[in-house]
Amino acid sequence: MNSGAKRWLLVAVAAAMAVSYFSAQFNRYYLGIVIDIGINIILAVSLNLINGHTGQFSLGHAGFMAVGGYTAAKITLTMQTILPPWAHPLLFLVALLLGGGLAALAGLAVGVPTLRLRGDYLAIVTLGFGEIIRVFFQTTEAFGAATGLTGIPHWTTFAWAWSLAALTVFVVGCLVSSTYGRGFLAVHDDEVAAGAMGINPVRYKVTAFVIGAFFAGIAGGLYAHHKQFLSPGGFDFMKSIDIVVMVILGGMGRTAGVIVAAVLLTLLPEVLRGFADYRMIIYSLLIIVLMIARPQGLFAFRRQRN
Protein backbone atom coordinates (compact mmCIF):
# COMPACT_ATOMS: atom_id res chain seq x y z
CA MET A 1 0.00 0.00 0.00
CA ASN A 2 2.72 2.41 1.00
CA SER A 3 4.92 2.02 -2.07
CA GLY A 4 1.80 2.28 -4.22
CA ALA A 5 0.77 5.46 -2.46
CA LYS A 6 4.27 6.88 -2.90
CA ARG A 7 4.10 6.16 -6.62
CA TRP A 8 0.77 8.00 -6.79
CA LEU A 9 2.25 10.94 -4.94
CA LEU A 10 5.14 11.17 -7.43
CA VAL A 11 2.74 10.89 -10.36
CA ALA A 12 0.53 13.61 -8.87
CA VAL A 13 3.46 15.97 -8.26
CA ALA A 14 4.86 15.34 -11.75
CA ALA A 15 1.43 15.94 -13.27
CA ALA A 16 1.03 19.15 -11.28
CA MET A 17 4.39 20.42 -12.54
CA ALA A 18 3.63 19.40 -16.11
CA VAL A 19 0.29 21.21 -16.08
CA SER A 20 1.89 24.19 -14.41
CA TYR A 21 4.43 24.38 -17.26
CA PHE A 22 1.60 25.17 -19.65
CA SER A 23 -0.33 27.34 -17.22
CA ALA A 24 0.37 30.49 -19.24
CA GLN A 25 -1.99 29.09 -21.90
CA PHE A 26 -4.94 28.92 -19.53
CA ASN A 27 -7.53 31.54 -18.75
CA ARG A 28 -6.34 33.36 -15.64
CA TYR A 29 -9.78 33.28 -14.02
CA TYR A 30 -10.11 29.52 -14.36
CA LEU A 31 -6.51 28.97 -13.29
CA GLY A 32 -7.22 31.02 -10.16
CA ILE A 33 -10.20 28.85 -9.29
CA VAL A 34 -8.21 25.66 -9.86
CA ILE A 35 -5.53 26.91 -7.46
CA ASP A 36 -8.29 27.82 -4.97
CA ILE A 37 -9.47 24.22 -5.20
CA GLY A 38 -5.97 22.92 -4.42
CA ILE A 39 -5.71 25.16 -1.35
CA ASN A 40 -9.16 24.14 -0.16
CA ILE A 41 -8.28 20.47 -0.54
CA ILE A 42 -5.32 21.00 1.80
CA LEU A 43 -7.57 22.76 4.32
CA ALA A 44 -10.36 20.20 4.16
CA VAL A 45 -8.12 17.14 4.28
CA SER A 46 -6.13 18.51 7.21
CA LEU A 47 -9.29 19.42 9.13
CA ASN A 48 -10.60 15.96 8.33
CA LEU A 49 -7.73 14.52 10.35
CA ILE A 50 -8.93 16.44 13.42
CA ASN A 51 -12.71 16.39 12.93
CA GLY A 52 -13.18 13.24 10.92
CA HIS A 53 -10.55 10.68 11.81
CA THR A 54 -9.93 11.71 15.41
CA GLY A 55 -13.54 12.71 16.09
CA GLN A 56 -12.76 16.07 17.71
CA PHE A 57 -14.68 19.14 16.70
CA SER A 58 -12.53 22.09 15.77
CA LEU A 59 -14.09 25.35 14.64
CA GLY A 60 -10.81 27.26 14.53
CA HIS A 61 -9.13 26.05 11.36
CA ALA A 62 -9.18 29.53 9.82
CA GLY A 63 -7.10 30.71 12.79
CA PHE A 64 -4.30 28.25 11.99
CA MET A 65 -4.56 29.25 8.35
CA ALA A 66 -4.17 32.89 9.37
CA VAL A 67 -1.04 32.12 11.41
CA GLY A 68 0.56 30.35 8.45
CA GLY A 69 -0.55 32.95 5.93
CA TYR A 70 0.63 35.99 7.86
CA THR A 71 3.94 34.37 8.83
CA ALA A 72 4.76 33.30 5.28
CA ALA A 73 3.69 36.64 3.82
CA LYS A 74 5.73 38.60 6.35
CA ILE A 75 8.82 36.50 5.63
CA THR A 76 8.62 36.87 1.86
CA LEU A 77 7.79 40.57 2.09
CA THR A 78 10.88 41.32 4.18
CA MET A 79 13.29 38.93 2.46
CA GLN A 80 12.42 39.13 -1.23
CA THR A 81 14.33 42.37 -1.83
CA ILE A 82 17.41 41.07 -0.02
CA LEU A 83 17.64 37.78 -1.88
CA PRO A 84 18.38 37.43 -5.61
CA PRO A 85 15.42 36.28 -7.78
CA TRP A 86 16.83 32.77 -8.32
CA ALA A 87 16.53 32.12 -4.57
CA HIS A 88 12.87 33.09 -4.47
CA PRO A 89 11.41 29.58 -4.86
CA LEU A 90 13.60 28.46 -1.99
CA LEU A 91 12.50 31.46 0.07
CA PHE A 92 8.87 30.60 -0.70
CA LEU A 93 9.41 27.03 0.47
CA VAL A 94 11.08 28.19 3.68
CA ALA A 95 8.31 30.73 4.28
CA LEU A 96 5.62 28.10 3.76
CA LEU A 97 7.37 25.66 6.09
CA LEU A 98 7.89 28.29 8.78
CA GLY A 99 4.25 29.36 8.44
CA GLY A 100 3.20 25.74 8.81
CA GLY A 101 5.57 25.32 11.75
CA LEU A 102 4.20 28.33 13.61
CA ALA A 103 0.65 27.18 12.90
CA ALA A 104 1.61 23.77 14.30
CA LEU A 105 2.87 25.52 17.43
CA ALA A 106 -0.47 27.32 17.63
CA GLY A 107 -2.13 23.92 17.24
CA LEU A 108 -0.06 22.65 20.15
CA ALA A 109 -1.07 25.68 22.19
CA VAL A 110 -4.73 24.97 21.46
CA GLY A 111 -4.49 21.22 21.81
CA VAL A 112 -2.73 20.91 25.15
CA PRO A 113 -5.04 22.98 27.35
CA THR A 114 -8.25 21.84 25.65
CA LEU A 115 -7.70 18.11 26.05
CA ARG A 116 -10.03 18.01 29.00
CA LEU A 117 -12.88 19.32 26.91
CA ARG A 118 -14.90 17.41 24.41
CA GLY A 119 -17.75 17.87 21.98
CA ASP A 120 -19.46 21.24 22.14
CA TYR A 121 -17.01 22.72 24.61
CA LEU A 122 -14.06 21.89 22.41
CA ALA A 123 -15.89 23.44 19.46
CA ILE A 124 -16.41 26.67 21.39
CA VAL A 125 -12.84 26.87 22.68
CA THR A 126 -11.36 26.33 19.24
CA LEU A 127 -13.77 28.95 17.93
CA GLY A 128 -12.54 31.26 20.69
CA PHE A 129 -8.90 30.62 19.81
CA GLY A 130 -9.64 31.32 16.16
CA GLU A 131 -11.25 34.63 17.10
CA ILE A 132 -8.36 35.57 19.39
CA ILE A 133 -5.88 34.91 16.59
CA ARG A 134 -7.95 37.07 14.26
CA VAL A 135 -8.16 39.89 16.82
CA PHE A 136 -4.38 39.63 17.28
CA PHE A 137 -3.69 40.16 13.58
CA GLN A 138 -6.32 42.86 13.43
CA THR A 139 -4.59 44.91 16.14
CA THR A 140 -0.90 44.27 15.41
CA GLU A 141 0.59 47.06 13.34
CA ALA A 142 3.44 44.85 12.07
CA PHE A 143 0.84 42.70 10.30
CA GLY A 144 -1.00 45.63 8.81
CA ALA A 145 -3.70 45.71 11.51
CA ALA A 146 -7.21 46.16 10.11
CA THR A 147 -6.04 47.08 6.60
CA GLY A 148 -4.07 43.84 6.21
CA LEU A 149 -0.93 43.01 4.26
CA THR A 150 -0.68 44.04 0.62
CA GLY A 151 1.83 43.57 -2.18
CA ILE A 152 2.57 39.93 -1.43
CA PRO A 153 4.39 38.40 -4.45
CA HIS A 154 2.31 36.14 -6.67
CA TRP A 155 4.28 32.93 -6.19
CA THR A 156 1.59 30.31 -5.74
CA THR A 157 1.48 28.45 -9.02
CA PHE A 158 -0.56 25.46 -10.01
CA ALA A 159 2.44 23.24 -9.28
CA TRP A 160 2.88 24.56 -5.72
CA ALA A 161 -0.79 24.31 -4.80
CA TRP A 162 -1.46 20.90 -6.26
CA SER A 163 1.85 19.27 -5.26
CA LEU A 164 1.25 20.34 -1.70
CA ALA A 165 -2.37 19.18 -1.90
CA ALA A 166 -1.14 15.78 -3.07
CA LEU A 167 1.43 15.76 -0.28
CA THR A 168 -1.25 16.55 2.31
CA VAL A 169 -3.49 13.75 1.07
CA PHE A 170 -0.49 11.41 1.06
CA VAL A 171 0.68 12.27 4.57
CA VAL A 172 -2.77 12.19 6.14
CA GLY A 173 -3.69 9.01 4.26
CA CYS A 174 -0.49 7.16 5.22
CA LEU A 175 -0.71 8.40 8.78
CA VAL A 176 -4.24 7.19 9.30
CA SER A 177 -3.68 3.80 7.68
CA SER A 178 -0.43 3.17 9.57
CA THR A 179 -0.29 1.10 12.75
CA TYR A 180 0.30 4.26 14.75
CA GLY A 181 -2.52 6.06 12.99
CA ARG A 182 -5.13 3.46 13.89
CA GLY A 183 -5.00 5.17 17.27
CA PHE A 184 -6.75 8.22 15.78
CA LEU A 185 -9.68 6.03 14.75
CA ALA A 186 -9.69 4.34 18.16
CA VAL A 187 -9.90 7.73 19.89
CA HIS A 188 -12.70 8.65 17.50
CA ASP A 189 -14.68 5.50 18.20
CA ASP A 190 -14.38 5.39 21.98
CA GLU A 191 -11.94 7.41 23.99
CA VAL A 192 -12.35 5.46 27.20
CA ALA A 193 -11.99 2.09 25.50
CA ALA A 194 -8.96 3.34 23.57
CA GLY A 195 -7.38 4.46 26.83
CA ALA A 196 -8.05 1.08 28.35
CA MET A 197 -6.27 -0.57 25.38
CA GLY A 198 -3.10 1.39 26.10
CA ILE A 199 -3.64 4.12 23.54
CA ASN A 200 -3.00 7.55 24.97
CA PRO A 201 -5.97 9.66 23.76
CA VAL A 202 -4.30 12.87 24.87
CA ARG A 203 -1.27 12.26 22.69
CA TYR A 204 -3.32 11.36 19.67
CA LYS A 205 -5.53 14.39 20.02
CA VAL A 206 -2.55 16.74 20.31
CA THR A 207 -0.86 15.03 17.36
CA ALA A 208 -3.98 15.44 15.25
CA PHE A 209 -4.20 19.12 16.17
CA VAL A 210 -0.52 19.78 15.46
CA ILE A 211 -0.47 18.00 12.08
CA GLY A 212 -3.82 19.47 11.05
CA ALA A 213 -2.67 22.96 12.01
CA PHE A 214 0.64 22.50 10.15
CA PHE A 215 -1.10 21.84 6.85
CA ALA A 216 -3.63 24.59 7.50
CA GLY A 217 -0.66 26.93 7.95
CA ILE A 218 0.82 25.78 4.64
CA ALA A 219 -2.53 26.36 2.97
CA GLY A 220 -2.56 29.84 4.53
CA GLY A 221 0.87 30.59 3.03
CA LEU A 222 -0.28 29.41 -0.40
CA TYR A 223 -3.45 31.48 -0.05
CA ALA A 224 -1.45 34.60 0.84
CA HIS A 225 0.78 34.24 -2.24
CA HIS A 226 -2.21 33.47 -4.43
CA LYS A 227 -4.49 36.37 -3.48
CA GLN A 228 -1.48 38.69 -2.85
CA PHE A 229 -3.48 40.31 -0.09
CA LEU A 230 -4.33 39.31 3.48
CA SER A 231 -6.92 40.88 5.73
CA PRO A 232 -8.00 39.66 9.16
CA GLY A 233 -11.63 39.63 8.03
CA GLY A 234 -10.84 36.80 5.64
CA PHE A 235 -10.01 34.48 8.53
CA ASP A 236 -13.12 34.87 10.63
CA PHE A 237 -15.46 32.26 12.01
CA MET A 238 -17.19 31.99 8.59
CA LYS A 239 -14.02 30.71 6.93
CA SER A 240 -13.75 27.97 9.55
CA ILE A 241 -17.37 27.05 8.93
CA ASP A 242 -16.71 26.79 5.19
CA ILE A 243 -13.97 24.23 5.83
CA VAL A 244 -16.11 22.33 8.35
CA VAL A 245 -18.92 22.13 5.78
CA MET A 246 -16.51 20.60 3.26
CA VAL A 247 -15.59 17.91 5.78
CA ILE A 248 -19.20 17.21 6.74
CA LEU A 249 -20.39 17.19 3.15
CA GLY A 250 -17.69 14.76 2.12
CA GLY A 251 -18.37 12.50 5.05
CA MET A 252 -16.30 12.73 8.21
CA GLY A 253 -13.15 10.67 7.97
CA ARG A 254 -13.53 9.90 4.26
CA THR A 255 -10.61 11.46 2.45
CA ALA A 256 -11.91 10.87 -1.09
CA GLY A 257 -15.32 12.29 -0.21
CA VAL A 258 -13.78 15.31 1.48
CA ILE A 259 -11.67 16.05 -1.63
CA VAL A 260 -14.75 15.87 -3.88
CA ALA A 261 -16.62 18.13 -1.44
CA ALA A 262 -13.76 20.65 -1.44
CA VAL A 263 -13.86 20.75 -5.24
CA LEU A 264 -17.66 21.10 -5.38
CA LEU A 265 -17.88 23.73 -2.66
CA THR A 266 -15.17 25.85 -4.28
CA LEU A 267 -16.95 25.63 -7.65
CA LEU A 268 -20.45 26.19 -6.28
CA PRO A 269 -20.11 29.92 -5.50
CA GLU A 270 -18.53 30.46 -8.93
CA VAL A 271 -21.34 28.60 -10.68
CA LEU A 272 -23.91 30.54 -8.66
CA ARG A 273 -22.25 33.85 -9.48
CA GLY A 274 -25.12 34.62 -11.86
CA PHE A 275 -27.49 34.55 -8.89
CA ALA A 276 -25.14 36.68 -6.81
CA ASP A 277 -27.89 37.90 -4.49
CA TYR A 278 -29.16 34.46 -3.75
CA ARG A 279 -26.05 32.33 -3.73
CA MET A 280 -25.34 32.50 0.01
CA ILE A 281 -29.02 31.86 0.74
CA ILE A 282 -28.86 28.77 -1.49
CA TYR A 283 -25.60 27.72 0.19
CA SER A 284 -27.07 27.88 3.70
CA LEU A 285 -30.28 26.14 2.64
CA LEU A 286 -28.12 23.42 1.13
CA ILE A 287 -26.38 22.86 4.47
CA ILE A 288 -29.70 22.51 6.31
CA VAL A 289 -31.31 20.21 3.75
CA LEU A 290 -28.18 18.10 3.55
CA MET A 291 -27.97 17.68 7.31
CA ILE A 292 -31.60 16.58 7.44
CA ALA A 293 -31.43 14.32 4.38
CA ARG A 294 -27.86 12.95 4.34
CA PRO A 295 -26.10 13.62 7.65
CA GLN A 296 -23.41 11.03 6.90
CA GLY A 297 -22.16 13.13 3.98
CA LEU A 298 -22.96 13.14 0.30
CA PHE A 299 -20.31 10.63 -0.63
CA ALA A 300 -20.57 8.10 2.16
CA PHE A 301 -22.26 5.02 0.82
CA ARG A 302 -21.32 2.41 3.36
CA ARG A 303 -23.07 2.52 6.71
CA GLN A 304 -21.04 4.33 9.24
CA ARG A 305 -20.24 2.75 12.55
CA ASN A 306 -21.98 4.42 15.41
Binding site: F57, P113, T114, R116, L117, G119, D120, Y121, A123, I124, V125, L127, G128, F129, E131, I132, V135, F136, Q138, T139, V192, F237, I241, V244, V245, I248, D277, Y278, M280, I281, Y283, S284, L285, L286, I287, I288, M291, I292, P295
Partner: protein, 303 residues
Protein backbone atom coordinates in the same frame (compact mmCIF):
# COMPACT_ATOMS: atom_id res chain seq x y z
CA UNK B 1 -13.33 56.92 41.06
CA UNK B 2 -16.29 58.47 39.25
CA UNK B 3 -14.99 56.93 36.06
CA UNK B 4 -14.93 53.49 37.62
CA UNK B 5 -18.58 53.83 38.63
CA UNK B 6 -19.47 55.22 35.24
CA UNK B 7 -17.87 52.23 33.51
CA UNK B 8 -19.62 49.95 35.98
CA UNK B 9 -23.00 51.37 34.97
CA UNK B 10 -22.19 51.06 31.26
CA UNK B 11 -20.91 47.53 31.86
CA UNK B 12 -24.01 46.53 33.80
CA UNK B 13 -26.25 47.70 30.95
CA UNK B 14 -24.25 45.74 28.37
CA UNK B 15 -23.97 42.76 30.68
CA UNK B 16 -27.71 42.66 31.28
CA UNK B 17 -28.27 42.39 27.52
CA UNK B 18 -25.68 39.62 27.23
CA UNK B 19 -27.41 37.89 30.11
CA UNK B 20 -30.82 38.01 28.43
CA UNK B 21 -29.43 36.39 25.28
CA UNK B 22 -27.35 33.91 27.28
CA UNK B 23 -30.51 32.68 29.03
CA UNK B 24 -31.88 31.47 25.70
CA UNK B 25 -28.69 29.56 24.92
CA UNK B 26 -28.61 27.98 28.30
CA UNK B 27 -32.30 26.96 28.32
CA UNK B 28 -32.07 25.31 24.92
CA UNK B 29 -28.88 23.58 25.99
CA UNK B 30 -30.67 22.40 29.11
CA UNK B 31 -33.43 20.57 27.24
CA UNK B 32 -31.74 19.59 23.96
CA UNK B 33 -28.00 19.58 24.77
CA UNK B 34 -26.94 21.50 21.72
CA UNK B 35 -25.80 25.01 20.93
CA UNK B 36 -28.46 26.92 19.06
CA UNK B 37 -26.19 28.97 16.83
CA UNK B 38 -29.20 30.73 15.32
CA UNK B 39 -30.02 32.36 18.66
CA UNK B 40 -27.90 35.43 17.93
CA UNK B 41 -29.92 35.94 14.77
CA UNK B 42 -33.19 35.77 16.67
CA UNK B 43 -31.75 38.61 18.77
CA UNK B 44 -31.20 40.55 15.54
CA UNK B 45 -34.74 39.76 14.34
CA UNK B 46 -36.06 41.07 17.66
CA UNK B 47 -34.36 44.41 17.08
CA UNK B 48 -35.76 44.59 13.54
CA UNK B 49 -39.23 43.65 14.77
CA UNK B 50 -39.02 46.60 17.16
CA UNK B 51 -37.90 48.83 14.29
CA UNK B 52 -41.04 47.96 12.32
CA UNK B 53 -43.44 47.93 15.27
CA UNK B 54 -42.42 51.36 16.56
CA UNK B 55 -44.14 53.38 13.77
CA UNK B 56 -47.22 51.15 14.02
CA UNK B 57 -47.52 51.79 17.74
CA UNK B 58 -46.95 55.51 17.25
CA UNK B 59 -50.17 55.68 15.27
CA UNK B 60 -52.28 55.47 18.39
CA UNK B 61 -49.78 56.40 21.09
CA UNK B 62 -47.51 59.44 21.26
CA UNK B 63 -43.95 58.74 20.07
CA UNK B 64 -41.35 58.14 22.80
CA UNK B 65 -43.70 57.10 25.57
CA UNK B 66 -42.95 54.41 28.14
CA UNK B 67 -46.23 52.64 27.40
CA UNK B 68 -45.49 52.63 23.67
CA UNK B 69 -41.99 51.26 24.31
CA UNK B 70 -43.42 48.48 26.43
CA UNK B 71 -45.94 47.61 23.69
CA UNK B 72 -43.19 47.44 21.06
CA UNK B 73 -41.14 45.25 23.38
CA UNK B 74 -44.00 42.82 24.02
CA UNK B 75 -45.02 42.63 20.35
CA UNK B 76 -41.44 41.92 19.26
CA UNK B 77 -41.02 39.30 21.96
CA UNK B 78 -44.20 37.57 20.76
CA UNK B 79 -43.08 37.61 17.11
CA UNK B 80 -39.66 36.23 17.97
CA UNK B 81 -41.13 33.55 20.23
CA UNK B 82 -43.10 32.41 17.19
CA UNK B 83 -40.00 32.54 14.97
CA UNK B 84 -38.05 30.51 17.50
CA UNK B 85 -40.77 27.85 17.59
CA UNK B 86 -40.93 27.70 13.81
CA UNK B 87 -37.13 27.28 13.56
CA UNK B 88 -37.26 24.45 16.05
CA UNK B 89 -40.18 22.79 14.25
CA UNK B 90 -38.69 23.00 10.76
CA UNK B 91 -34.98 22.56 11.31
CA UNK B 92 -34.29 20.88 14.64
CA UNK B 93 -37.27 18.60 15.22
CA UNK B 94 -36.51 16.31 12.23
CA UNK B 95 -33.04 15.84 13.75
CA UNK B 96 -34.15 15.14 17.30
CA UNK B 97 -32.41 11.78 17.73
CA UNK B 98 -29.44 12.37 15.44
CA UNK B 99 -25.86 12.90 16.60
CA UNK B 100 -25.30 16.27 18.22
CA UNK B 101 -22.81 17.30 15.56
CA UNK B 102 -25.47 17.05 12.86
CA UNK B 103 -27.76 19.36 14.81
CA UNK B 104 -24.90 21.77 15.48
CA UNK B 105 -24.10 22.07 11.78
CA UNK B 106 -27.81 22.51 11.01
CA UNK B 107 -27.95 25.30 13.57
CA UNK B 108 -25.03 27.00 11.83
CA UNK B 109 -26.90 26.57 8.54
CA UNK B 110 -30.05 28.15 10.00
CA UNK B 111 -27.97 31.02 11.33
CA UNK B 112 -26.40 31.66 7.91
CA UNK B 113 -29.79 31.37 6.23
CA UNK B 114 -31.31 34.05 8.47
CA UNK B 115 -28.29 36.33 8.08
CA UNK B 116 -28.11 36.12 4.30
CA UNK B 117 -31.86 36.30 3.81
CA UNK B 118 -32.03 39.43 5.94
CA UNK B 119 -29.09 41.00 4.11
CA UNK B 120 -30.88 40.58 0.80
CA UNK B 121 -32.04 43.90 -0.63
CA UNK B 122 -35.65 42.71 -0.74
CA UNK B 123 -35.69 41.97 3.00
CA UNK B 124 -33.76 44.37 5.26
CA UNK B 125 -30.69 45.11 3.14
CA UNK B 126 -27.14 45.09 4.46
CA UNK B 127 -26.91 48.77 5.37
CA UNK B 128 -27.28 49.74 9.05
CA UNK B 129 -30.50 51.50 10.02
CA UNK B 130 -31.18 53.98 12.75
CA UNK B 131 -33.34 52.55 15.51
CA UNK B 132 -36.12 54.97 16.56
CA UNK B 133 -36.13 56.37 20.09
CA UNK B 134 -38.77 54.35 21.88
CA UNK B 135 -38.73 56.19 25.18
CA UNK B 136 -38.05 59.80 26.14
CA UNK B 137 -34.26 60.17 25.91
CA UNK B 138 -33.03 61.91 29.02
CA UNK B 139 -29.83 61.72 30.98
CA UNK B 140 -29.51 62.19 34.68
CA UNK B 141 -26.42 63.56 36.38
CA UNK B 142 -25.91 62.00 39.77
CA UNK B 143 -22.78 63.20 41.53
CA UNK B 144 -20.67 63.35 38.38
CA UNK B 145 -22.13 60.17 36.92
CA UNK B 146 -24.05 60.27 33.67
CA UNK B 147 -26.95 57.83 33.55
CA UNK B 148 -29.05 57.55 30.41
CA UNK B 149 -32.73 56.68 30.66
CA UNK B 150 -32.12 53.80 28.24
CA UNK B 151 -29.59 52.30 30.65
CA UNK B 152 -32.09 52.44 33.49
CA UNK B 153 -34.71 50.86 31.24
CA UNK B 154 -32.27 48.08 30.31
CA UNK B 155 -31.65 47.24 33.94
CA UNK B 156 -35.30 47.50 35.00
CA UNK B 157 -36.56 45.44 32.06
CA UNK B 158 -33.91 42.78 32.52
CA UNK B 159 -34.62 42.49 36.19
CA UNK B 160 -38.37 42.14 35.65
CA UNK B 161 -37.86 39.59 32.89
CA UNK B 162 -35.54 37.60 35.13
CA UNK B 163 -38.11 37.58 37.91
CA UNK B 164 -40.83 36.53 35.45
CA UNK B 165 -38.58 33.79 34.08
CA UNK B 166 -37.77 32.54 37.54
CA UNK B 167 -41.47 32.41 38.32
CA UNK B 168 -42.24 30.48 35.11
CA UNK B 169 -39.42 27.99 35.60
CA UNK B 170 -39.89 27.41 39.32
CA UNK B 171 -43.61 27.81 40.01
CA UNK B 172 -45.61 26.89 36.92
CA UNK B 173 -46.43 23.44 35.61
CA UNK B 174 -44.71 23.99 32.29
CA UNK B 175 -41.60 25.23 34.10
CA UNK B 176 -41.53 22.12 36.25
CA UNK B 177 -41.79 20.05 33.07
CA UNK B 178 -38.88 22.01 31.56
CA UNK B 179 -36.73 21.26 34.56
CA UNK B 180 -37.77 17.63 34.44
CA UNK B 181 -36.78 17.30 30.76
CA UNK B 182 -33.49 18.99 31.47
CA UNK B 183 -32.82 16.65 34.40
CA UNK B 184 -33.75 13.39 32.72
CA UNK B 185 -35.52 13.42 29.41
CA UNK B 186 -36.58 9.78 29.34
CA UNK B 187 -37.96 9.77 32.84
CA UNK B 188 -39.83 13.01 32.16
CA UNK B 189 -41.48 11.47 29.10
CA UNK B 190 -42.47 8.42 31.13
CA UNK B 191 -44.07 10.74 33.68
CA UNK B 192 -46.37 12.09 30.98
CA UNK B 193 -44.47 15.20 29.91
CA UNK B 194 -45.22 16.13 26.30
CA UNK B 195 -41.63 16.49 25.06
CA UNK B 196 -42.41 18.32 21.80
CA UNK B 197 -44.53 20.89 23.57
CA UNK B 198 -41.91 21.55 26.23
CA UNK B 199 -39.09 21.91 23.73
CA UNK B 200 -41.24 24.20 21.61
CA UNK B 201 -42.09 26.27 24.68
CA UNK B 202 -38.42 26.49 25.66
CA UNK B 203 -37.49 27.82 22.22
CA UNK B 204 -40.33 30.32 22.41
CA UNK B 205 -39.30 31.52 25.85
CA UNK B 206 -35.60 31.79 24.93
CA UNK B 207 -36.36 33.59 21.68
CA UNK B 208 -38.65 36.07 23.46
CA UNK B 209 -35.81 36.91 25.85
CA UNK B 210 -33.41 37.29 22.91
CA UNK B 211 -35.90 39.68 21.27
CA UNK B 212 -36.04 41.72 24.47
CA UNK B 213 -32.25 41.77 24.43
CA UNK B 214 -32.33 42.93 20.80
CA UNK B 215 -34.66 45.84 21.53
CA UNK B 216 -32.69 46.93 24.59
CA UNK B 217 -29.44 46.70 22.62
CA UNK B 218 -30.91 48.73 19.77
CA UNK B 219 -32.19 51.36 22.22
CA UNK B 220 -28.73 51.74 23.70
CA UNK B 221 -26.67 51.69 20.52
CA UNK B 222 -29.38 53.04 18.17
CA UNK B 223 -28.04 51.32 15.06
CA UNK B 224 -29.19 47.92 13.77
CA UNK B 225 -28.05 45.73 10.87
CA UNK B 226 -28.56 42.08 9.85
CA UNK B 227 -25.17 40.92 11.17
CA UNK B 228 -25.49 42.54 14.60
CA UNK B 229 -26.30 39.15 16.12
CA UNK B 230 -23.10 37.40 15.11
CA UNK B 231 -20.57 38.86 17.55
CA UNK B 232 -23.15 39.64 20.25
CA UNK B 233 -24.56 36.13 19.98
CA UNK B 234 -21.13 34.53 20.26
CA UNK B 235 -20.32 36.62 23.31
CA UNK B 236 -23.65 35.83 24.93
CA UNK B 237 -22.94 32.18 24.34
CA UNK B 238 -19.55 32.65 25.99
CA UNK B 239 -21.43 34.22 28.90
CA UNK B 240 -23.65 31.15 29.16
CA UNK B 241 -20.62 28.83 29.22
CA UNK B 242 -18.78 31.00 31.72
CA UNK B 243 -21.76 30.89 34.06
CA UNK B 244 -22.19 27.15 33.59
CA UNK B 245 -24.28 26.09 30.63
CA UNK B 246 -27.72 24.78 31.54
CA UNK B 247 -27.76 26.95 34.67
CA UNK B 248 -30.13 29.96 34.56
CA UNK B 249 -28.62 32.18 37.30
CA UNK B 250 -25.22 31.27 35.81
CA UNK B 251 -26.20 32.72 32.44
CA UNK B 252 -27.24 36.01 34.01
CA UNK B 253 -24.07 36.11 36.12
CA UNK B 254 -21.86 35.25 33.14
CA UNK B 255 -23.50 37.99 31.11
CA UNK B 256 -22.89 40.60 33.80
CA UNK B 257 -19.25 39.56 34.26
CA UNK B 258 -18.62 39.65 30.54
CA UNK B 259 -20.32 43.02 30.05
CA UNK B 260 -18.43 44.63 32.92
CA UNK B 261 -15.01 43.21 32.00
CA UNK B 262 -15.48 44.16 28.36
CA UNK B 263 -16.51 47.71 29.20
CA UNK B 264 -13.58 48.19 31.58
CA UNK B 265 -11.17 46.75 29.01
CA UNK B 266 -12.59 49.16 26.45
CA UNK B 267 -11.68 52.02 28.76
CA UNK B 268 -8.04 51.03 29.17
CA UNK B 269 -6.01 52.49 26.28
CA UNK B 270 -3.70 49.51 25.63
CA UNK B 271 -6.44 46.93 25.90
CA UNK B 272 -9.27 48.63 24.04
CA UNK B 273 -8.20 47.21 20.67
CA UNK B 274 -8.42 43.72 22.07
CA UNK B 275 -11.98 44.23 23.30
CA UNK B 276 -13.45 41.58 21.02
CA UNK B 277 -10.85 39.01 22.02
CA UNK B 278 -11.34 39.43 25.77
CA UNK B 279 -14.60 37.49 25.96
CA UNK B 280 -12.89 34.48 24.44
CA UNK B 281 -9.84 34.79 26.66
CA UNK B 282 -12.13 34.72 29.72
CA UNK B 283 -13.92 31.71 28.24
CA UNK B 284 -10.70 29.76 27.79
CA UNK B 285 -9.46 30.60 31.28
CA UNK B 286 -12.76 29.56 32.88
CA UNK B 287 -12.93 26.32 30.92
CA UNK B 288 -9.38 25.45 31.89
CA UNK B 289 -9.91 25.90 35.59
CA UNK B 290 -13.63 25.20 35.93
CA UNK B 291 -14.74 23.24 32.85
CA UNK B 292 -18.34 23.22 34.00
CA UNK B 293 -18.52 27.00 34.40
CA UNK B 294 -18.83 29.18 37.49
CA UNK B 295 -22.15 27.82 38.75
CA UNK B 296 -22.39 24.56 36.79
CA UNK B 297 -22.14 21.17 38.41
CA UNK B 298 -19.26 19.00 37.21
CA UNK B 299 -20.46 16.03 35.20
CA UNK B 300 -19.07 12.66 36.05
CA UNK B 301 -18.26 10.47 33.10
CA UNK B 302 -19.63 6.98 33.41
CA UNK B 303 -18.29 4.14 31.33
Amino acid sequence: MTEVFQQLINGLALGAIYGLIALGYTMVYGVLRFINFAHGDVFMLGAFAGYFFAPAVNRFLPAQSYLGGALVLIASMAVCALIGMVIEFLAYRPLRNRPKLTVLITAIGVSLLIEYTCQHAAVFGAAPRKFPDLIPATTWHVGGLVIASTQVIVLVTTLSLLIALRFIVQKTKVGTAMRAVSFNEQAAVLMGVNLNRIISFTFGLGSALAAAGGILYAMNYSSIEPLMGVQTGLKAFVAAVVGGIGNLPGAALGGLILGIVETFAGGIPGLSNYRDGIAFAILILILLFRPSGLLGKPQIEKV
